[in-house]
């Protein structure tokens, strides 16, 4: 062997490791830097040198045929691998990824699409996990050294190490320690790919030596270090490695860079190989001295920004407490634990709430990386980036709010883009709850937050088309073809209108017509109508062509009117309840449209319903709608109520009728005492047994009234219906003229003889 081989065993995302790797590389001056990373990402590695590349970023390796089968290899500024890549590229050394290419790894998703689980990310994090295998070798070594956990031990020995000028010796020690840990723990079949991965790494190292590189540096997880050394290369036959690799089947992959976030680097977002505190690690990487003071100052400044009290005196005290805690625990400098405890007990006065914000914003951080424009990406991504730029929409991992006035052109375009992305399943923006309640039609409030996994969603969506518009349209078309329910289609149409996809609208409308022609269920038709009516009503605000929808509404309505009466023919209570909701929705939708050509046939149909012998709920409601629409006068309504409540009717049917007529609002009873009197008389006339049967339904009906309505109804009943109706007071037998005459003289005295 001619080549000089240095194995630099590191902990992924460890700033101390990164610092030592840089130092070691400066000392070795290698002409080849081999890094534990998927070999099929080789094409995109040189991009890391681009000035526009700002970590955190990740290499994304995916199968173009099944983009959801994607793996991420994230790098932060303080990742040793990142430092090694940068060093190699800047110093004209050969930089190679030597880990088993993704193309040779067995696919993990055999069962269709696993997307949707974990926000669409099937982040294969294993290859970057800190000296991956469990049981953690670090734990074993840490216990031997008397530390509570591996993290603390490694942090103390490596990550917080400063001013070390013999990095190579440290790496040798790491390799040795891991070697004994591996021997102790035996082969750990935790990662089934591990033998193949290590075989591939060895093969790549051998190849590099053969090619004549003189000084080779290998940057890999500490766990792998002992099996990659010159000794291991000799003791493990090249042939057996070749055989392992030959056994694997190959599939096609593509690689690209995507922006990453600190949030994703952290453990708590379900990414198994991260670090708990990227923000803190960044701090360790950027600052070489006075780590404690600088960190606590940062915390205090942050607190002041958040309008929390944090005086310089408290910072001084916190530094002192952190340092004395570190001394108590026998650490040379305060670690994150000590700093957080000092922050909590002094700066936050023991209150955990501000601490949580500090954790989220400072300790984890929310930095989002950037990648150069010329990084390879799917055309859809490029189109999206271009649109984001031209619309001046900032891509950020922070949640921001976007208030759009749709009457302005740019805002309209922005809204359109967001709606199109939503159609494609890329929920960059979501309408805020605020927005949903607000009824204004030219105003939208979006909450925007970019998540790294959207990169995968974009690649997945790329199969639909090369621009956001084309992709969204194609996506809608396929959804339309798959949809079996009419209401599903009309909801889709609603989205399409908002996303302004004229090409898709035609297809969608013809699909709706086909489906509505064959639809057997009146319910489905009725569900489909309200969204369409909404489009017809508001569509023009967005400059979309609502005229397309008009014939559709007319067609649907005609079918509904034709089938409504038979459909209401024999309903049980539950079905009637359901129909009531639909009846209301259609009535409300048509009412807002306020077009005679739609309302006329509908009301005619309602009149038929009201007179038909159907479930009382529906009949009652039909009359109510007509009364509210002033399609029938109060006399007619009173007659209808009287008819429905006449003693010959079944009390169950009658009470359902009352419920249908009254539920929702009692205003009619407040304004028309006659109706109230009829119902009052009906209730009073019920025999005891029937009353018990009717009472719950009546109660349910009245409980839907607004409180003031109920009070007013109650008051007018208390006054006696006679207060408004003279006829009733004549029959008042309680008045005794003889007793009345007794107070007569006194009244005369008081009033001065004015009484008749």
């Amino acid at each position: 062997m001619s080549g000089e081989l240095h194995i630099l065993g590191i902990r992924h995302h460890g700033p101390g490791s990164a610092r030592m790797v840089s130092r070691a590389l400066r000392a070795i001056k290698p002409d080849a830097v081999l890094i534990e990373g998927p070999a099929d990402a080789a094409d995109v590695v040189p991009l890391a040198a681009a000035a526009e590349m700002v970590p955190p970023v990740a290499i994304l390796v995916y199968d173009p045929q099944a983009p959801s089968d994607a793996s991420f290899y994230p790098f932060a500024e303080f990742s040793p691998e990142w430092q090694a890549i940068r060093w190699g590229l800047n110093n004209k050394a050969e930089v190679r990824f030597i880990d088993l290419p993704q193309s040779l790894r067995p696919r993990r998703v055999a069962k269709g699409d696993a997307v949707g689980e974990q926000d669409g990310v099937t982040a294969e994090a294993e290859s970057l996990s800190p000296a991956a295998p469990r049981p953690d070798p670090l734990e074993a070594l840490a216990h031997a050294a008397g530390f509570a956990d591996g993290e603390a031990w490694w942090g103390r020995l490596i990550e917080e190490r400063r001013g070390d000028d013999r990095p190579l010796e440290v790496f040798e020690a790491i390799s040795e320690a891991m070697g004994s840990a591996r021997a102790e723990l035996g082969p750990t079949p935790h990662d089934p790919d591990e033998p193949a991965r290590e075989a591939h790494m060895r093969r790549s190292i051998r190849a590099a030596i053969k090619e004549g590189y003189e000084r080779i540096a290998v940057v890999c997880g500490a766990w792998h270090a002992p099996v990659l050394t010159a000794g291991s290369l000799k003791s493990i036959a090249a042939k057996s490695d070749e055989e392992i690799i030959k056994r694997l089947t190959k599939h096609k992959t593509a690689a690209t860079w995507v922006p990453w976030t600190y949030d994703r680097l952290a453990y708590h977002s379900g990414y198994g190989a991260g670090v708990t505190s990227p923000g803190w690690y960044e701090h360790l990487w950027l600052n070489h001295d006075q780590i404690t003071a600088k960190w606590l100052t940062k915390v205090a400044r942050f607190m002041r920004e958040e309008d929390l009290e944090a005086s310089p005196a408290s910072v001084i005290e916190s530094v002192r407490l952190a340092e004395s805690l570190a001394a108590l625990r026998g650490r040379s400098i305060a670690g994150l634990d000590e700093l957080s405890e000092a922050t909590l007990s002094i700066l936050c006065h023991g209150n955990p709430l501000p601490m949580r914000v500090i954790e989220q914003k400072l300790i984890v951080g929310n930095r989002l990386g950037e990648i150069p424009d010329h990084a390879p990406s799917v055309p859809l991504q490029r189109d999206l980036t271009a649109q984001q730029k031209s619309l001046r929409m900032k891509v950020s991992a922070d949640g921001t709010e976007l208030d759009l006035d749709l009457r302005k052109e740019t805002d309209g375009l922005r809204s359109r883009l967001l709606h199109r992305l939503a159609v494609l399943g890329i929920p960059w923006g979501s309408l805020t709850a605020d927005q949903k309640q607000r009824s204004s039609t030219f105003h939208e409030v979006w909450a925007l937050q970019w998540k790294p996994e959207f990169a995968v969603a974009v690649i997945e969506a790329a199969r639909w088309g090369n621009t956001v518009h084309d992709a969204a349209a194609a996506c809608v078309q396929e959804q339309a073809e798959r949809a079996g329910e009419l209401s599903e289609l009309t909801r889709l149409l609603d989205h399409v209108m908002l996303a302004d996809l004229p090409g898709a609208i035609d297809a969608l409308i013809s699909r709706i017509q086909t489906l509505s022609a064959v639809a057997a269920s009146i319910g489905g038709l009725m569900d489909a109508l309200p969204p369409l009516a909404r489009i017809l009503r508001y569509g023009n605000v967005r400059k979309t062509d609502a005229a397309l929808v008009e014939p559709l509404v007319a067609g649907l309505l005609a079918r509904i009117c034709a089938g409504l009466l038979p459909a209401c023919g024999s309903l049980d209570d539950d079905a009637a309840e359901e129909m009531l909701g639909r009846l209301d929705a259609v009535s409300a939708a048509l009412h807002t449209l306020a077009r005679a050509e739609f309302t006329e046939p509908w009301r005619a149909e309602l009149r038929k319903l009201g007179d038909a012998d159907i479930h009382g709920l529906i009949a009652g409601r039909a009359w109510r709608v007509l009364l509210d629409a002033q399609e029938c006068d109060a006399d007619l309504a009173a007659a209808r109520i009287a008819l429905a409540l006449s003693p010959g009717n079944d009390p169950g049917q009658a009470s359902a009728w009352v419920e249908g007529f009254l539920s929702g609002s009692g205003a009619v009873l407040v304004h028309d005492a006659r109706l109230l009197a009829i119902i009052d008389r009906w209730v009073c006339s019920l025999p005891a047994a029937t009353f018990e049967q009717v009472c719950p339904i009546a109660r349910r009906t009245f409980s839907t009234f607004a409180r003031p309505e109920r009070r007013m109804i109650g008051e007018s009943l208390k006054r006696g219906l006679g207060a408004t109706q003279q006829t009733a007071s004549e029959g008042d037998d309680d008045y005794d003229p003889a007793r009345g005459r007794l107070v007569d003289p006194v009244l005369r005295l008081i009033l001065g003889e004015v009484l008749p």
Partner: protein, 370 residues
């Protein structure tokens, strides 16, 4: 030495409750012997040894140190580190989370003296924190050092010891603020004599406070800033709490000379379960939601329920604690408000206690008392 210890042990039997430094004199001495780490000025032990004293452990020479505080070691570490930086310590928590207990043992371990103590009440005057006068002398001789009666804080300052202020939030705000000068300037002016007492190194204050009780006076932010706040939580796990109760019951039983045996873990577990369930508002298995009573349902109350049960058993029973012995204590601890809490308790009895396997005796006993 042996004579002294005999005297000490002799006093144990007559004094109702020994101070921590006397009760654990042996442990403190053993710790001091092996402790070779650096000690802050006038500290009897190094910070490490103080933490060990509170958390318990085995020393190099084999001496077993009992755990005084069961819970997170980090909390005690923060408290000790705070005192080592000569910053004052504020122990915060709901009633019954061992605030005073921790503060007493900290003072005992650090200064060997836990008696310098100001009990905060709504009527605590400024003199209790500063100094008073011997009025006879004052009238006879005029203002002089002899006529001055120093309070605990002043003595602590002069001797360089830890002073405890219990229930700081009960003290009226204007009296609380007396502490500001003492904590920031480390001096106590005596304007009458045109003198001042300057604090000797080693002086510090441990205050305990309770943030949820009624009638508390919130600390001013000027004062708050001078304290490190350490929140003592209610025990995290059931096992921790059972351990705490078991240990304390044993100690108290010994002090009260109860002949009854310390009840079995199972009985204690039952009591702790009831307290935890009512405190958290849900059953241990997480299946049913419960109403919480108005009391705080602290561990300290659980301890007193078990000890009173023990007393009942040893004086009126066969020394073995039974369901009936704890039932009255449980009801007394829970039903603080005769109307609301009674409803809570009845509901709890019917929905949880009655259904639980092996709890029939307790159910019946509680029903009888209620």
């Amino acid at each position: 030495m042996s004579k002294a210890s005999k005297e000490a042990s002799g006093s144990v039997s007559s004094v109702m409750r020994e101070t921590a430094e006397k009760q654990y004199a042996a442990e403190l001495a053993a710790l001091a012997k092996v402790d070779d780490r650096e000690r802050p000025p006038r500290w009897n032990l190094s910070p490490w040894a103080v933490v060990t004293y509170l958390m318990g452990g085995k020393l190099k020479d084999g001496t077993e140190i009992s755990a005084k505080y069961v819970g997170n070691r980090r909390i005690i570490e923060i408290a000790v580190a705070t005192l080592a930086t000569d910053r004052a310590l504020l122990l915060l928590g709901v009633p019954g989370t061992a605030k005073s207990w921790v503060s007493e043992h900290l003072a005992a371990a650090i200064s060997g003296d836990s008696t310098l103590m100001v009990q905060g009440t709504a009527g605590t005057p400024e003199e209790a924190i500063r100094y008073g006068w011997n009025y006879a002398l004052l009238l006879a001789k005029g203002p002089s050092r002899e006529a001055l009666v120093p309070g605990p804080v002043m003595r602590g300052m002069a001797e360089g010891k830890i002073v405890r202020v219990e229930e700081l939030t009960r003290v009226p705000s204007e009296v609380q603020d007396t502490l500001i000068t003492i904590l920031s300037e480390k001096t106590m002016p005596i304007p009458e004599l045109n003198e001042e007492t300057r604090a000797v190194k080693g002086f510090n204050i441990i205050a305990t406070a309770n943030d949820r009780d009624r009638g508390v006076n919130e600390l001013s932010s000027a004062l708050k800033r001078r304290f490190s706040t350490v929140v003592l939580p209610v025990p995290d796990s059931m096992d921790d709490e059972v351990t705490v109760v078991h240990r304390r019951v044993g100690q108290i039983g010994k002090a009260l000379e109860l002949t009854g045996e310390v009840p079995a873990m199972d009985e204690i577990r039952r009591v702790v379960t009831i307290f935890r369930e009512l405190r958290d508002g849900k059953s241990v298995d997480g299946k049913s939601k419960l109403k919480s009573p108005s009391g705080s349902m602290s561990t300290a109350e659980a301890i007193s329920v078990v000890t009173s049960g023990m007393a009942l058993a040893s004086h009126f029973g066969d020394g073995k604690i039974k369901a009936a012995d704890v039932a009255s204590g449980i009801i007394g601890a829970i039903v603080k408000d005769p109307v609301q809490d009674k409803v809570v308790m009845q509901e709890y009895l019917e929905t949880v206690v009655k259904e639980r396997d092996g709890w029939k005796d307790l159910y019946r006993a509680c029903k009888d008392v209620l």
